[in-house]
Symmetry: C2
Subunit: 334 residues, 2 copies
């Protein structure tokens, strides 16, 4: 098995220099998978069995500042709260910092602020690792390109490799054992009328992390069919975006999410991220659609939903789901 350390060395080989800044900041958007990522062919390097496709959430994401710490340990501050070293959250960041530490006595202070609803299942760890990698690139003056940054971000959290860009992003699964061909690539089509609404149906913590659940993925009797489904959906989603065919686009995205949750519920022990409140919201969406509203949903590995619709239907969606936060992912984005 190839280690993360090996990959980092390979990427930074010609990029190490001693012109460090004392502090650096960067922002990365959260991203919603439209064609899901489920199942790792390499758990160390976060290499997926299949490609996936996402939409970044514009100004919603994580702003991270990295600087050198005076203390003899890393300091992790998230949303103005000091995070204890032993938490899983801090441990994942510290493990990542171990990969890029110039020497073992150098410690960092990481200060990050997320403007995405807490517990919304919006993959804040993806935005967090993408922002951290971008901030490191500035701090150390690595001058890496985005593709290389995407690979580094993937080592922190798989889907982080998609949060290096705004808009639509494809994560190429790649074939290489060291994952040097597994990174995000922007799919540079704009769709200004597209809207996403974040619908929080429960703020209960998940009963199982997606990291844990994903380990069971390839045991599912449906995994083989899932791989074929993803391939078909990925092609269809890109074609639907190119043609701006919203009804086909929404259908494919929703089909893909339903298939992922179908897959998850066929592992053992069975996993169900869908809560009764999620199901009630889904049935409300289906009823609205039967009455002619062009409204679709996707659902990550959690209980909450992300609604997809076009600008023209904003008032109707607001009336149906008054608490949903509406995002225009292509407007006012740098």
């Amino acid at each position: 098995m190839i280690s993360k350390h090996h990959v980092v060395q390979k990427i930074l080989k010609n990029h190490n220099n001693l012109n460090y800044f004392s502090t650096a900041s960067a922002f990365a958007p959260a991203n919603i998978a439209l064609c899901k990522y489920w199942g790792k062919r390499d758990a160390e390097l976060n290499l997926p069995y299949h490609s996936s496709f996402s939409l970044s959430l514009g100004k919603l994401g994580v702003q991270t500042t990295i600087s050198f710490a005076q203390e003899d340990h890393d300091i992790i501050i998230s949303n103005n709260q000091m995070i204890a070293q032993e938490t899983e959250f801090a441990q994942r960041i510290i493990e990542f910092l171990n990969l890029i530490r110039p020497n073992k006595h150098t410690y960092f202070q990481i200060q990050s602020t997320a403007n995405i609803p807490i517990a919304a299942g919006l993959a804040s760890s993806a935005a967090g690792f993408a922002a951290l990698v971008k901030a490191c690139n500035r701090l150390f003056n690595w001058r890496l390109d985005k593709q290389e940054l995407s690979i580094l971000a993937r080592l922190g959290s798989g889907s982080a490799c998609r949060s290096l860009w705004h808009g639509f992003v494809e994560w190429h699964a790649g074939l290489a054992h060291d994952g040097m061909d597994s990174y995000g690539e922007p799919f540079t089509v704009q769709w200004p009328e597209l809207r996403i609404a974040i619908l929080i149906v429960s703020s209960q913590p998940k009963n199982i992390s997606s990291r844990q659940a994903m380990k069971l993925a390839s045991d599912s009797p449906f995994y083989h069919c899932w791989l074929t489904k993803v391939e078909t959906d990925l092609t269809a989603i890109k074609r639907n975006i190119l043609n701006q065919e919203f009804l086909l686009f929404g259908r494919t995205v929703e089909e893909n999410a339903l298939a992922m949750h179908a897959l998850i519920q066929t592992s053992w022990p069975p996993i169900q991220y869908t809560l009764p409140a999620t199901l009630a919201a889904i049935q409300k969406i289906w009823q609205a659609r039967e009455q002619g509203l062009a409204l679709f949903f996707t659902q990550d590995a959690g209980a909450n939903l992300q609604l997809l619709f076009l600008q023209q239907d904003t008032l109707q969606v607001q009336a149906l789901f008054p608490t949903a936060q509406i995002i225009a992912p292509f407007l006012n984005v740098p």
Copy 2:
């Protein structure tokens, strides 16, 4: 395509005689699929893509009496209520009677009584057609064997072919175009300690009949994997019954139900028989199991659940689900 009429002619060829009785009665039990039936290779003859496996519900089922009607149309009475000719319920029975009518001016009175909870998704049509076929066999003095009756019952409703027997029954999918090798066969192992509880979480009618939903089955991207899953599960369930290994048996049965519902939710338009209340009950079962209770469930194409457990845990299951109706499928059964 081979017609139902053709199959009936084939079966009755050497069994027609003129010694009719004026009336005849029969009972058939409801059955719960432990390894589900989903998808028809022939919608006319109700021929499945794959074999399935069920457990009959002992004294719960349908008692049917058939006699000749004086009127110039069939009379259908269910649970002491006259059923209007135009209803789907009556139409399905009349269509079946058309197959066995000695001449087109002979009409029948069908009187059936179900002692299964109404709207429990307990496939009362399966028990109904099995009882009707048995009653016809007596009325016309056909002297058909159970295998032939099973084929006739299948023409009325696929899973009816399993309701000819008590206990465990396998429905062999068969390969023949005319379905003469597609019938039920008892799996003659007793399991006296086994209990089923009928848990009604909703008496809302289904939003789509299983007949309709099943038409979409083979379009699912997971159908191919489902066929493999069923084959594995069917073998495992029989082995678990032979070894009376309840934990493995329960797991396989539950996995199979979850897989069927996963399959259903990946058709388009998506179908979801699971209601929020179903999901709440499922989570209650999973929590109880985590705490050590050997309790599993299965779910047919409907919102309600059937719980599986052993006699020794009856009090605990009753405490968890006080409204559930508990059945001992191997006790006091003829």
